[in-house]
Amino acid sequence: MNYNLNFDSSGDRPMSTPEMFRKIWQLVGNEKSSLIIALVVIIVNSLLNLIAPFLIGDAVDKFVQTREYPGVIRYGIILLVIFILVVVSGYFQTQLMGQVGQRMLFNLRNALFTKLQELPFSFFNQNKSGDLISRINSDTEKINQFFSHSLIQFAGSMVSMVGAAAFLLSINFTLGVAALVPGIVLWLFTRWVSPFVKKQNAVSLKSGGQLSAEIQESLSNFKIIVAFNRRDYFRQKFEEANVDNYRKSLKAGFINTSLAPVYGLLANIGQLIVLAFGIYLILNGLFTVGLLISFLSYIVLFYNPLRQIASLWSSFQVALASWDRISMILVLKNDLEIIEDQTVEKLVQQQNATVTEFSKSTISGMNDKLTANDRASIERPVLVFEEVSFAYTPGKNILTRINFELLQGKTYAFVGPTGGGKTTTASLISRLFDPVNGRILLHGKDLRSYSHEERAQRIGFILQEPVLFTGTLRENIVYGNPELQLLSNDSLLELLHNEGLGGLMNRFNNDLEMEINASGDGVSLGQRQLIAFIRAVLRRPDVLILDEATANIDTVTEQLLGEVLAKLPTTTTRIVIAHRLNTIENADEIFFVNSGKVTRAGSMQQAVELLLHGQRVS
């Protein structure tokens, strides 16, 4: 599956109005009933607001012109009551609508985050992290802006517009129709320009994303910038992105700001039509001055919300463009599905085959060393690669038809030149990716049939580049290990010492509350690797993979690590990826990984031969 978000071209396609409303409806989700209640309150509020000008006009006609002051007072009292009701309905209108907006935003954020968690590693591999971060942070922020500031106004304006139109038509139909003509022109105009407006906003948003990706990269690489005297590079790369962003925002901004004046002009023309046509009607005795005053108020009540919508329209379009960019993530599916295991029926047959094959090749060599326990484990290889091929980009195989099997409790070393496919093999075992062809069996079952939780529990993978989270040392150690999170610091330390990790904890002065910054330089690379090691060992996996995981650790500490590894339960299978020979000398078996092939190196000596003199393609 292609996860590259910038690959998509659907942003160029104009969106039709029904499609737009469908999208909004999608956003509404399960808030539909609350939304309807909110809309009812909005309608009540708007109606009350609309009655007022009508009563004022009526009062002018009936009592001011006829000079009956008590009538004016009577109308005044009715108006006062209505105004008080408006306060009440206005409060609930904002509350209800706003709450719907807040909950929708809450759900949207959750949905997006859940999706981020659900997507496979390829998604993060194929997208720039700076771009992803900007897409998620600033796009949800733009939708947030719309939800928390504009939605209420938007909905209220819509309703009072419709209500005002209804009043206009009911007071005087002909005059009403004439007054609304500019509104219809506006609607057509909006429909016509919207796709263009939205596209320009999308372009400008995208360029904003690139700008922040650029900043992110430059700032995190500042060391190199300084050490290589390339402050000019820093400035120049930034300036390019900055100017590009400026041009695109300028264009989008010009378009956004030119909408409002058009709306204003047409609103004024609407007023002009009412004034001229109304006066004409009055002159012909078909209309009254009082009604004209009301009518002019309604015209304002119709066109003012229209103008508000216009000013909100661009933020609405921005929100839609953001929504599009976020939906692009939301529609992505995890291609690492949990499948039905299809190995069961073949299992027996297969095991027979593997055992025989196995006995031929390996057991013969070390038969005399085997205990009963080992024999039992041989019956069930923990991990089997069957004809596994893998490519990051189709056609460029990193691994080609790999076959091997690993037994319980053994230590395996994967050695080979850089770029040979060692890390890729490990990534396949921990299912960061799925093989393009072939399959991997864990305990005889297809790896893909395990739930993610179970697989993670069974397979521990210490990554080449250790990942730490901002927080304390303790948080980083117990990360992903819920049971340990309940322990007090003292009992956790005790546990660590019992696990043989005490020596490693001494490197941190046993200070579990030590602050760790995910990005800072406060913790050395070697220390980071130690933390990652402790974290992985504490999870007691069936298979523990160390991918150059001790590369930056000094050899004395590394001996400590070796002791920890030796103390792991006898059922634990260890896979050590390294090119440093001392880290692999305790291995039961050595595999040589190079140019897409995994070959078994019979002995340490042979592995050294292969490493030193083997043909390398990297």
């Binding site: 004022i56 009592f63 001011v64 004016v72 007072i73 005044g76 108006l79 408006v86 206005g90 904002t94 509350q95 706003g98 809450f106 954020r109 985050f113 968690q117 496979p120 591999n125 720039k128 992803l132 942070n137 947030n144 922040s212 992110q216 990269e217 700032l219 190199i224 050490a227 005297n229 390339r230 400026y246 925002s249 300028l250 901004g253 010009f254 409002a260 004046p261 204003g264 007023q271 001229a276 006066i279 005053i293 030149p417 850089t418 040979g420 993670a456 990554l463 992903g480 406060g522 050395s524 150059e548 590369a551 930056n552 650790i553 000094d554 050899t555 004395v556 020979l581 490493l611 390398r616």
Partner: protein, 577 residues
């Protein structure tokens, strides 16, 4: 009182407008003109209504005047819109450039202390806040004030008795806004913090995606996120409640004004002390008047937020430049001297009074356990950071007197963590512009990259992904070596270079360096003793202290710590020799 002081002493957000005085005046001028013409429209309506049925009524004049006014408004507004976009984008662009220029001149230490993620916020969110301030805030502020004053004056001239009654709404509404926003401000701040927290969780989940998948720790991450998200929703609801109270109050006050117009104005019309047209005009002006009062309320909040952003930006732009001192352009021989150098980062002492001497053309290894201060020592050698006390010098010249640019052309540094740029392979190697094609080729040969590059369809023009994700660990290391070598450095600093490169390649590369770059002074931080046995000096560093130094044989005879490390590697040594 205290609050007032802090406001006045901190930079006012209006300072940002100073360089654009002319543009802003044009912008405000356009806005005021269109608003002024807008105020005429109710007058036109009023006089038209009053004239109906009299001899001076002329339909053509009414239509002509009205249409003319609308058209003028349209043109002014259009120009105003263009102008405000232009000015605000220009302000944003220039602010970003200024920030970036400033950051680019700073030392490495500044970036670490300032926290890159905070700088990112400065360059994006904060600049955006100022952009909106210029685009919307400035115009809204001036035109609102103008309209309120203008409409008030017009109301007073039409009928001062009624006007005074109507204008009471201004202080009442302003007061309501003042009270509510003073309560909202802390909530806005909290809300911002929660959003930052949400973003932080998202960022960590993007950057740590691999680990989270390996550990399948999505659920705890999700729980963390939901807690923050719930808090965001709660705060949003709290803010909402204030608005739900404020807005109906403002509407009610406005409605009371229209009630006053009906009851009092009606009285005046009945008394014949006011015309019906004026009565209509009062109603029109009221609606014109109410809107800017509300706008002003919102703008005040806008300005407050922009002020916070502006203060944060100024913190960066006002930070004293830390220009790299030193004017002496040295031709480095490779003679390095550490004289009682100590370094503290925060409260932690990283290096404790370290002294040593390195002669030109020699090879030196630095070994020691994790967190011994080895990497920081190399950072000192490149001038990325400065010692807390003590002095380091090259060819007898103290570091702070050396001209840094010329110095850095002569020092090649291969960092421990892979830092590559999202540009072509060639540009990554020839990262310094002084590097020519021949230097690139030589560096590639030395770093044993020629086979790899030849295997690529695009060769040297292959684009490197962000963080080099399309390369293996060893390829990245060798690429970084080539980048350092391409400078033709006099001194080469390797930080744990061998950690990710296999033994065979490592040997070849070290031989290549000796052959291709004769006379180079080599400093290598390493874990393995075997490859450095023949080195001229080995420095043993532990917990920031220089425990021992000398040749391999010397250390074997004098340093028990060294012997311990050596023994831990012995079995390997035997195999590899």
């Amino acid at each position: 009182m205290n609050k007032k002081n802090s406001v006045t002493s901190s930079p006012s957000v209006f300072e940002v407008l100073k360089p654009y005085r002319l543009l802003i005046s044009v912008l405000v001028g356009l806005a005021l003109l269109s608003n002024a013409v807008n105020l005429v429209i109710p007058q036109l309506i009023s006089s038209a209504i009053d004239a109906v049925g009299t001899a001076r009524f002329s339909m053509a004049t009414v239509v002509g005047q009205f249409f003319g006014a609308s058209l003028v408004i349209f043109i002014f507004q259009l120009l105003q819109g263009f102008m405000q976009t232009y000015v605000s984008e220009k302000v944003a662009r220039n602010l970003r450039t200024e920030l970036n220029e400033r950051i680019s001149r700073q030392r490495y230490r500044f970036i670490v202390d300032a926290d890159p993620s905070k700088l990112l916020t400065n360059l994006t969110t904060d600049v955006d806040a100022l952009k909106s301030f210029v685009a919307i805030g400035v115009v809204a502020l001036f035109s609102s004030v103008f309209v309120i004053v203008g409409a008030s004056v017009l109301l007073l001239t039409i009928d001062w008795r009624l006007a005074l009654n109507v204008l009471v709404v201004i202080p009442v509404i302003a007061g309501a806004f003042g009270v509510v926003f003073s309560r909202l401000r802390p909530l806005f701040k909290k809300n911002r913090e929660v959003i930052d927290k949400l973003n932080k969780i998202i960022n960590e989940n993007i950057l740590g995606a691999a680990l989270i998948r390996v550990l399948s720790s999505q659920t705890p991450e999700y729980e963390k996120f939901v807690v923050a998200n719930e808090r965001a929703r709660g705060l949003g609801m709290q803010i909402l409640r204030y608005f739900a109270t404020l807005i109906p109050i403002v509407v009610f006050v406005g409605n009371m004004a229209s009630l006053a117009i009906l009851v009092l104005g009606g009285r005046f019309v009945i008394d014949n002390s006011m015309s019906l047209g004026d009565f209509a005009a009062f109603n029109s002006y009221l609606s014109i008047l109410l809107f800017p009062i509300m706008v002003l309320g919102f703008v005040s909040n806008f300005i407050a937020q922009a002020s916070v952003s502006y203060r944060r930006i100024r913190e960066v732009t006002d930070a004293p430049d830390q220009p790299e001192t030193g004017t002496r352009e040295l031709q480095l021989s490779g003679h390095i001297r550490f004289d009682q150098v100590s370094l503290s980062i925060g409260e932690k002492q990283v290096l404790k009074s370290v002294s040593f001497n390195i002669l030109p053309g020699t090879k030196t290894a630095i070994i020691g356990p994790t967190a011994a201060g080895k990497t920081q020592l190399l950072y000192l050698l490149t001038g990325l950071i400065d010692p807390t006390s003590g002095q380091l010098s090259f060819d007898g010249v103290p570091m702070d007197e050396i001209h840094k640019s010329t110095f850095r052309y002569q020092v090649g540094f291969v960092f421990q963590d892979s830092i590559l740029f999202n540009i072509s392979l060639r540009d990554n190697i020839a990262f310094n512009t002084k590097v020519d094609e021949e230097m690139v080729q030589k560096a590639i040969r030395t770093a044993e990259l020629q086979d790899y590059i030849q295997s690529l369809p695009d060769g040297l023009n292959t684009m490197i992904n962000e963080r080099g994700s399309n390369l293996s660990g060893g390829q990245k290391q060798r690429l970084m070596l080539a980048r350092a070598l391409a400078l033709q450095p006099r001194i080469l600093l390797l930080d744990d270079f061998t950690a990710r490169v296999d033994t065979l390649t490592e040997q070849k590369i070290l031989d290549n360096i000796q052959r291709e770059y004769p006379g180079i002074t080599l400093l290598s931080v390493t874990q393995k003793i075997a490859p450095v046995i023949g080195y001229d000096t080995i420095l043993l560093l532990e917990e920031g202290e220089l425990l021992a130094s000398g040749t391999h044989q010397h250390l074997l005879n004098t340093s028990p710590e060294y012997v311990q490390i050596y023994t831990s590697q012995r079995s390997t040594n035997q195999l590899e020799t």
